[in-house]
Symmetry: C2
Subunit: 223 residues, 2 copies
Amino acid sequence: MTSVEEPARPGERERVRDAARTQAEILDVATQEFARAGYDGARVDEIAARTRTTKRMIYYYFGGKEQLFTAVLERAYGVIREAEQQLDVEHLDPVAAIRRLAEVTFDHHEQHPDFIRLVSIENIHEAQHIAASEKLGRIGSPALDVIRRILEEGRRSGLFTADVDAVDLHAMISSFCFFRVSNRHTFGALFGRDLVAPAQRAHYRTMLGDMVIAYLTAERAAD
Amino acid sequence: MTSVEEPARPGERERVRDAARTQAEILDVATQEFARAGYDGARVDEIAARTRTTKRMIYYYFGGKEQLFTAVLERAYGVIREAEQQLDVEHLDPVAAIRRLAEVTFDHHEQHPDFIRLVSIENIHEAQHIAASEKLGRIGSPALDVIRRILEEGRRSGLFTADVDAVDLHAMISSFCFFRVSNRHTFGALFGRDLVAPAQRAHYRTMLGDMVIAYLTAERAAD
DNA sequence: TCACGAATGTACGAACTAGTACGTTAGCTA
DNA sequence: TAGCTAACGTACTAGTTCGTACATTCGTGA
C-alpha cells in the first residue's frame, strides 16, 4: 500500500513541492495510524509528525480528520477492488474455481491486516464514512460477478447442489478469512491458539476450501 | 445485561447508598458507552452523566478508564460463559447436537450486539485488557468441552469424516456468527444486503448449520 | 524574468477530557 | 445513640487535541 518513496525516477527531478506525493504520503501514514489506534485513538498531530510535511497540509488537502479517514478507506477499498479484478479463475472447473477464489480471498486478508482493522473500525462507527463517500457508495465488487458466474456454471453442470446466492457465499468465505485476522488477539488470549501463526496457515487455508466445497456439493434434501 | 433497576424488592427498602448497585449501574452504562464509541471514543464524563452517581465513583470503584473497560469486558465474557454452561445438547445425536450448538451460538451473537462490538474494540487494542486481566487470563470455554465430546462421539460412530479439532470448529462457527453482526454495516453499505435483517434470520441460521454439517460429514480423500 | 497562485510552515487558541483534592453524609455497629 | 468509615458530591486542573490565522516560498506560464 506504500505509494510513496519512489526516489525520483531518473530524469524526473525530485521536486520540493509535489502535491500528489504529499497527499500520498499523508494517506500512507494516516492508514497506519488509524489502523493502529482506531478513529478516535488516532492523532492528527502524530500523523503529521511522521510525514515530511505538516499538519497544516492535512487540513489543506483533506479538510479534516473525518475526511482524511474517509480518504484512507477509499484508497484501501480501491486496492482490493483492483486485486479482485486480477482474479483469473473462470478457466477452471467450478469446484477448483471456487476453491481458488477462497484461497485468493484468504491470502488477501492475511496480507492486509491494516485493511481488516480499518474495516473493523468503520463498523464500530456504523459505516458512516462509507455512507458519506460518493466513491464508496456503490463501489460494487468484481469478485461478486465472478462468484455469480461460477455458481451458475456449477449448478448447470450438476456439481453444485446448493442453491446459494453469490452475496451469501461471499459472506461465508469472507467471514472466515476476516475473523481469523480481526479476532486473532482475543481468540489467542482466550483459547491459546494463534489463528495466524505461519505454521497453521496451510491448515486453515485448506479448511476454508474444504468447508466451502463441502457446503456447495453436499447431498441435500429437496427444499 | 442490565443488572440494575430492580426497584427495591418489597421489604427491602431502597437504600441511598448501595455499593453493589452503584457499581452495577456504572458497568451497565459503561458497557453501552464503550460499545457505542469504542475505547477512545467513549467519554468518562458521559458515562457518569448517565448514571445516578458521579464520575468520582467511577474512579473510586474502578480506578480509571482502562480498568473500567477491563471490568466491562470481564462481565460481558462472564455472560457468555454462563450461557454456554446452559448448553444441553449431548443427549442429541452428533449431527443434531452440532447443528443445535451452531444455532445457539448464532442466536447468542444476534442477541448481544454490544458484546460483539466490545470484542471488536478489544481486538483493535490487541487484547491488551484481556491479557492484563486475571479473571480473563484463562477463562476457558464450556462450549469447547461440549464440542470436543460431540466430535469424539461423531467420529466414533462414523458420522463425521473430518478430523477437526474442537478449537478450529469453534472458530469456524464463531467466524460466521461474529462477522454477520460485526460487519453488518460495511457489508450492508457495500453490497446492499442487511445480514441481520429479521427476514433473513432463518435463512442464515440454516445456512450456518448446513455448512458445518456438510464440512463434518463430507466424503473426503484420505490424507 | 516576473508575477501570481498553489503549496507550505509556524505559532497559537479554544474546547475538551481524564483524573483528583477536598469536603460531606449515610448507615452500620459497638 | 454516638461515632466511625464506606460511600458519595463538587469543583477544579493539567494536559491534550483538533483546528486555524497569518506569514512565506516555490514553480510555472505569460
